[in-house]
Amino acid sequence: MELRKFNTIGENCYFEQLQNGLPVFVVPKPGYSKAFAAFVTSYGGMHQRFTTDCFHDTPAGIAHYLEHKMFDMKWGNALQALSSAGASPNAFTASDITAYYFTCTEHFTENLRTLLQFVSTPYFTPESVQKEQGIIGQEIGMVEDNPDWCMYQNLLQGLYCHHPLRNSIIGTKDSIAQIDADTLYACHKAFYHPGNMVLCVAGDVDPRQVISLARMTLTQDKQAVAQKDYGEPEPAQSNRQEISCQMEVSAPNFILAFKAKPFSAGKEGLRQSILADTAAELLCGRSSPLYTRLYQEGLINKSFSVGTSDYPQAAFLDFGGESSDPGKVRQAILDEAERLALKIDEERFRRTLRAEYGAQVRNLNSFDDICIQLARGWFKGYHYFDFAECYESITAKDVSDFLAQTVRQETSCLSVVYPKGA
């Protein structure tokens, strides 16, 4: 077991990689009553195609479907077992990962054992898989009525030509109809073995105990990693520059995204994602001149937000909210990026970088955030707590260059949901 100290951000982290390949992170949080544990697999909505001993092309929505079915155990339901032992359990499926986690203030060891057991034990019957079709079918119906979801789904289709991010995480009624117990077993076997997963714990717990419990509960065997297929590399430009639909909304809602070059693996990738966040803030964050101007002109309101997304073979900047004229917002952002590509005020750059740093350190109050970021960092080849060092190496010139390369008409996609009848 290795201990790394991150004094600048006031965190310590214990780490050990088990013989079966599972990395275990434990972040000690003295003085806290609650503890949090997440068991995460590097498998999500975008991993439909992969190769083990043969090539698999699985239906859209299967990772999410599998998440729903994982809680079933021969002896009953793991969700209920965790709840009755005082834990608050949950799970989510993203494009890149699926995470199972709980928080509790008592019976931590017992709950951790349950978590490790149910996630590593597949138990599906044709009847239970069939029953889930109806439940997930309803969920699909619900999200398809949700303007935010449709707008985001359209955006990914407009941004990418063939990257698997284009496919919905939850799938469609047709795609999930093709899922049966055998496909679920095959996906579990390919992606839910310790070598493709991470265990992260935060709380006032004994790291030795966590590691030995993981060692005792899980298989000792190592297994070859499935090869994930993301298809051909994407072109630099977006697939479509504009995409829209009409739904029940009171005002037009939009997301404007710019396709970036995929971030590198390793610590350089962490640096690139911080650089991208900083660039987005400088461009149109809450303290930027452009934000103030657009707000005062009534082109954006409180709902406006900026962000970056970072997936294997795909990264983008996004800006979104309500607007009476999303097209004008796009033009204003493009113009401002052109200006910043030439020169960024050094003082404003320092200030923004410092604000980004402060916000990132404050996020460490959240155990969920710590654990999920550590897991994602492992899959991308860096230690999340190294973020503090990255700030030192980012310059205003880096941001200018990034904006010049990334924020352009031809890399952009504007996805809008207009009110019905507009």
Partner: protein, 431 residues
């Protein structure tokens, strides 16, 4: 974590400060306390939003944003809430904790200064609040009031409180009403703002690594120039009301699921000795996944999609909310009352009692792991003579006995039933 220190900084200005190194951030709150009244509630609600738009030194969002960015990306947000029949309006803020700055320069004096500027030295034009800020924030407030309607679960709780307390100040929503919000003008708001500064009690809160004495000093400097006139007395919230008869109120709308909300008078508030018993009683009745409402009304009889009860600890109310099929209203109402009667009759197991106790103790323990929850906990006590800690309340919860839960339930009286359903005719038929 240290216990909070409470001190008076100047007439009518109080600080509650907790020193701890547990968190990465410092948590701040600045609240003006004023009687909750229909004609002023919307002005009190819009005021911090207007003030947040700019100060004399940083007159727009860009410059205010720059000042916050300079403090490692601090966040200051307008906040308005109700504490019984007292309205609180002001700001909540969070900054990087001083122990984690890269240059070692403390943030706390500048954070206090900035909040003091927001309160006392706003951006003005011709000596008054800027009209463009007032008008655009009035618009934002109006749209927030209108959107209360969007979520039918929230809306049914708002309507129930409004109807049940229609003769009490508590019936006023924390954002006020659409009518009153529309009447906001620069002249009226500017006058109200200055009056509020002179007359209202000020409650400050801090949780972070700085010493309480340092925080006191920083606030004293930041609030220099706060005009202090005759402090307006805060009303004592009316908590003991015996309803004469049960009122039924029904609204109709295009909905596929009906909302049934029932308001009870509990006869016990946060300042009373039997408050821990009320908390336990609510947990047994409808406060969690092991409660009578959840297990019987939802799970066993499948009468509803959700059914839960909550306590308003200042106003001494229990509100039960449920989402039901349109034809199940009468049946659900009867079943909810039957479950309350069961608690009154002592029909609950020791296991139910201990399950409820675990739920309460768990909440009180985990609230100390979150700065926001901790601030909310202590804020509930600013009007009490004695400020309890979560540990002290937990100790009292541990001592609650079965008889205490029963007597607490026996004090509970139904006041108003609110139903939101598809058609009035249909609902009448049901009853």
């Amino acid at each position: 974590m240290n216990t909070p220190i409470r001190m008076q900084l100047m007439p009518g200005v109080w600080l509650t400060a907790i020193q701890t190194r547990k968190f990465k951030s410092s948590f701040w709150s600045l609240q003006l306390l004023t009687p909750l009244e229909k004609k002023t509630a919307s002005m009190a609600a819009v005021l911090p939003r207007v003030l947040r738009r700019g100060t004399a030194a940083c007159p727009d969002q860009e410059q205010l944003g720059a000042a916050l960015d300079d403090l490692y990306g601090g966040v200051i947000e307008p906040a308005v809430s109700k504490l019984g029949e007292v309205q609180m309006t002001g700001f909540m803020a969070t900054f990087l904790d001083d122990s984690l700055t890269l240059d070692g320069r403390p943030i706390y004096p500048r954070a206090a200064e900035l909040m003091g500027d927001l309160l006392l030295r706003p951006a003005t034009k011709n000596g008054r609040l800027r009209s463009d800020y007032v008008l655009s924030e009035r618009q934002n407030l109006l749209s927030d009031i209108k959107s209360l309607f969007n979520d039918k679960r929230t809306y049914s709780a708002v309507r129930l409180t409004q109807e049940m307390c229609r003769k009490e100040a508590y019936g006023v929503h924390r954002l006020g009403t659409q009518d009153e919000a529309e009447k906001i003008t620069v002249t009226r708001l500017d006058k109200y703002y200055r009056q509020l500064l002179r007359e209202s009690r000020v409650e400050l809160y801090y949780c972070g690594s700085a010493k309480p004495e340092q925080i006191r000093q920083a606030w004293v400097e930041a609030l220099m120039g706060l005009p202090r006139g005759q402090e307006r007395e805060l009303p004592e919230t009316v908590t003991r009301i015996q309803p004469e008869e049960v009122r039924l109120v029904c609204d109709q709308m295009t909905v596929t699921q009906a909302k049934l909300a029932m308001g009870f008078r509990a006869g016990t508030c946060i300042q009373d000795g039997d408050y821990p018993a009320l908390l336990m009683m609510n947990a047994v009745f409808g406060g969690g996944p092991n409660s009578k409402l959840f297990l019987n009304v939802r799970e066993k009889l499948s009468l509803c999609y959700y059914a839960a009860s909550g306590v308003d600890k200042h106003k001494s109310l229990i509100l039960v909310q449920s989402g039901i099929d349109l034809d199940k209203t009468e049946e659900t109402q009867q079943e909810i009352l039957r479950q309350l009667q069961a608690v009154r009759d002592g029909e609950f197991t020791d296991e139910d009692l201990e399950g409820a106790r675990r739920l309460m103790l768990n909440q009180l323990t985990s609230c100390q792991d979150s700065q926001g929850a901790l601030a909310a906990f202590y804020q509930d006590y600013v009007l009490s003579e004695h400020m309890l800690s979560p540990e002290e309340l937990a100790r009292q919860v541990r001592e609650v006995k079965r008889e205490d839960v029963i007597s607490s339930a026996q004090k509970v009286v139904l006041d108003t039933v609110y139903l939101l359903t598809a058609s009035l005719a249909e609902a009448k038929q049901e009853n």
